[in-house]
Symmetry: D2
Subunit: 320 residues, 4 copies
């Protein structure tokens, strides 16, 4: 393959720029032409496409967000939009594209793939909710961002001997809450994958109080079926401990990517370019253990993500 | 004076530990005994008081929060509570105390002062809402914490070409919003001191959009009379630009204090100890320009804080 | 096993506290008694040992360094020292210990193991130089610390259009240089595992210059056989580009551990306690892919670490 | 005045971009044309000058370094070079320029001023060594950068019970060492303005050791007449305490500017533009207390900077 494109789609994630940079530079290194597609599938339909060279990805490795910008596209969900996208790609002579995004972006890529474009998917989402890969690009940065918020909140929470509910991202997948909760020393971790038991939560807080613990942190994924403010009230009523709420929201989306995310982005992007160069069929690239792996794109979307119950249990033991 | 106490009261602020450390070490250096009073006026009433030495304030200079802990005390608002506090102090032979806190804590100190205890007030609050001092301990840290949040939000906000409303602390005083807004490049700054004009806000966003600006940040103090979510909706309707909300809340209270806050804390604390040593009457210590200043405690509470309209105007010019 | 000890030995690493915390809490959770041994094998010989409870490891998860302190022990290298250590352990009734450290610390543990004490080794070193585990505790933090230094240096280096030699830790293992170099966008990476070619270094700098690159970063592991200052001079002579040197030294040793290091520390510590509880023989615990693994302690020390040539090549492609 | 220029010169400092941005936007707001001059006086001589608009300074407020780049110019020291610079300026119709830099840059500006160009100097240097202003742009960021290095070093230094010599910038002015030393809790602060007494240094370390202090930090300005390595050896010999050296070097030059530096840069730049607009004569702009002040450029260079002996003494008391 001689001419490829790259786009970022869906919610942005730290490390997307590192991935774009690696796609461009690995592509050029193999003598391919690389085109940057703006604003995901929206820009693809609009033909917002321009050729990239070495310097067009200079000085972006350490930046959060994505220089290609990103968007969610309603038009691309229609058959007409998809046909239009195909026409644009053929007009540019682009035979294959690298799609950096999450679940929805991959489904979009599958549509293109079924219309004859080779699509390599890179897992670009902070949510770590893709089943075929151990980790997604942006997850490690998001978890570390939550950790630094936790350390700020711990200061003030201890000074006032308060409990704090920290709500983090994760509608269906509780990994941000699980990883940040375990590594942040949260006393309680609430994830969508596990039943929510207010009494268990309060029990631990009361036990901690009796042990002289000054602060309590309840790490809650947004997907858990209880409103953060209501949860705080319940806790206050049942434990008698003043309880506050912090919703981290979009803070978790930005920031300079960590080494781990830059590495994952660089390695998966390099693999995607290699597969395009070898004219392989559409794949989803990810990491399994230390190995970069590639699954058939359609199959990858069917792989369910197992919840890591061992970590959940370990977190519980460590915060007893 | 040979025996003094120190307490932190009201909302905690980064730098309170630096102040406690300086009170203890400067006191000991002058041959005084220094007692730490736990949980503000609550602990004072309870007699939760212990003598401090050099090492009891070791390794705290860089920590957020306050090792003495803090609280708001209802009991101390009663005459009975205040009398009780006086008895405790005389039982310990403590003739003067350093109170690190905000407006309310100083009023509490005034009550003790009128009952014969010398009280030196240090401005410990992130809000920068004390009229007699240019800056308060914790303000600089809070502003820098907001700045790092802004830089995270800028990443994702640019990638999605969104506007974001960032709500920061400040019920009556908009300084956090003003300083973080100006230095964070916010397009709009909303503070309680100035009238809120939704049309002016939207005008700037639309102008920025036409100029190709990718992100817009609206820095809003909590004291401004409009709900953050409602504001976001209004902006979205009037500008057609997707708008999100982030409420930083207690994040702003924690974190390792900046050099400026540690310096302010150390210098004001040293001054407070000097004044106690010299048996001066109750004072509020602050900074004016580069000078550490001390006003009569009662008088200090009457000084109104002028809003810095020049900075507000400059911020407007810089973000045009 | 009912009574265990834990010590940190050799150079400290961020995450050692997270490991100590997990050893203590997992041990208590299994009904074991856990003793903290101060200053590594030095403190063991001196009997500087005290029992730990839940709170003795409170509020340390996020701290760099090690609350148990660490040291290199000459005395322990002697047979007499080792015998003495065994006597101390039996006096305390400690049947097994967790040793958190690097290569040398594990060899020390092996001596105890051969004298009848069960020893579980956790990989605590920033150098990532243990062959039996993919990663060591502290490595991820060190790499991210180097990244933030790189971003500071990039600012000034670009402003002056300079090259900068950054020397990082790694006498025999170049992983810090390799990972920080690849993820920091270094133009050249010098590691002990690969031959040093001054001409290749200068070639890339000259090419970058011609491409309009403003800054160049040469990431050098200390183990590479050329003095950093001499290297800078050579580069300046051969490329005509002003070249500076920064030696990060002990900066890389400290800092709050990253989520990845806290997780690795918590998981390996939990495994070590489980193995002690099950009266397993001495082991070295590590991570392989996503799995926590345990090798026979003696065997683990014989496993050579392969250099990751793929990453080295990828870094070269990305910085071309 | 209708057409002005702006350049950054000498060593770069965090906040220079904030100053450039404010010069451009305040200038445009007053209806002036603003030209950016590349690489300081070098670019001025070369005519590397281009007009700036609102967007040419977008997204730079938070970046370290300077987008205009900077250099030291030998050519500009010659009369010929200066004449040439004047010709370039008149060819572009530029009547006044804002020079952002230190002492040397101001002297260069004075030459232009004496040849009929109005020059407004902004204090852009991390060294805080300009006598006419309380603070320079970049100083606060540099001090905070040193503080975060101190906190990393404290971790490892405590774990090993070591002393560490930290060498910071400052050839003639010890302010970085003084401010970072006081606010970082250094046990000893060595500045060029005060005599160096090895015995006093060791006395404090020995006293700290006897008080159970685990780490010692010696904050040394580079201008102090003793080599850092030799100092460490001396300390080790005289105190028996293992002593390490860290030289922060160019780390101190980079990093995202703090709120304080961005504010100082914005306010002084706004003042400079106002003075140019009002056709005032050449001035040096600075801050005195909270007020932005402007001195005659030539006079400003004659003002000596007094050493702050009170802070030096306070630091000593706090670390006793």
């Amino acid at each position: 393959m001689k001419r490829i494109g790259v786009l970022t789609s869906g919610g942005d994630a730290p490390g997307m720029n590192a991935a774009v940079r690696a796609v461009v530079r690995c592509g050029l290194d193999r003598g391919m032409e690389v085109y940057g597609i703006q604003r995901g599938y929206e820009g693809l339909i609009d033909g917002a496409i321009k050729e990239m060279d070495m310097s067009s990805v200079g000085d972006i490795l350490h930046r959060g967000g994505t220089i290609l910008r990103t968007a969610r596209s309603e038009r691309f969900k229609t058959e007409e939009g998809q046909k239009h996208a195909i026409n644009v790609l053929s007009a540019f002579g682009i035979e294959g594209i690298v799609v950096i995004g999450g679940d929805g972006s991959f489904r979009g890529g599958l549509e293109l793939s079924q219309r004859g474009i080779t699509v390599m998917g890179l897992p670009g989402t902070i949510d770590n909710d893709l089943g075929y890969t151990d980790f997604t690009i942006g997850f490690d940065t998001a978890v570390n961002t939550v950790l630094s918020a936790v350390s700020n909140i711990r200061d003030t929470s201890s000074s006032h001997e308060r409990a704090t509910v920290i709500e983090v991202m994760g509608r269906h997948c509780g990994d941000i809450a699980l990883y940040a909760g375990l590594t942040g020393g949260a006393d309680n971790i609430l994830v969508p994958e596990m039943p929510f038991d207010i009494n268990k939560v309060c029990r631990k807080i009361i036990q901690g109080k009796n042990r002289g613990k000054m602060h309590d942190i309840i790490m809650k994924a947004e997907g858990v079926g209880v409103d953060a403010k209501e949860l705080a009230q319940l806790v206050e009523e049942k434990t008698g401990k003043e309880t506050r709420v912090v919703i981290l929201a979009y803070l978790q989306r930005g920031g300079s990517p960590t080494a781990k995310d830059r590495m994952l982005a660089s390695r998966t992007a390099s693999k995607a370019v290699e597969l395009l160069y070898d004219d392989e069929s559409s794949k989803a690239i990810g990491i399994c253990g230390s190995e970069i792996v590639a699954y058939d794109l359609e199959k990858a979307l069917t792989i369910k993500r197992p919840f890591n119950a061992d970590l959940y249990h370990l977190a519980d033991v460590l915060s007893k």
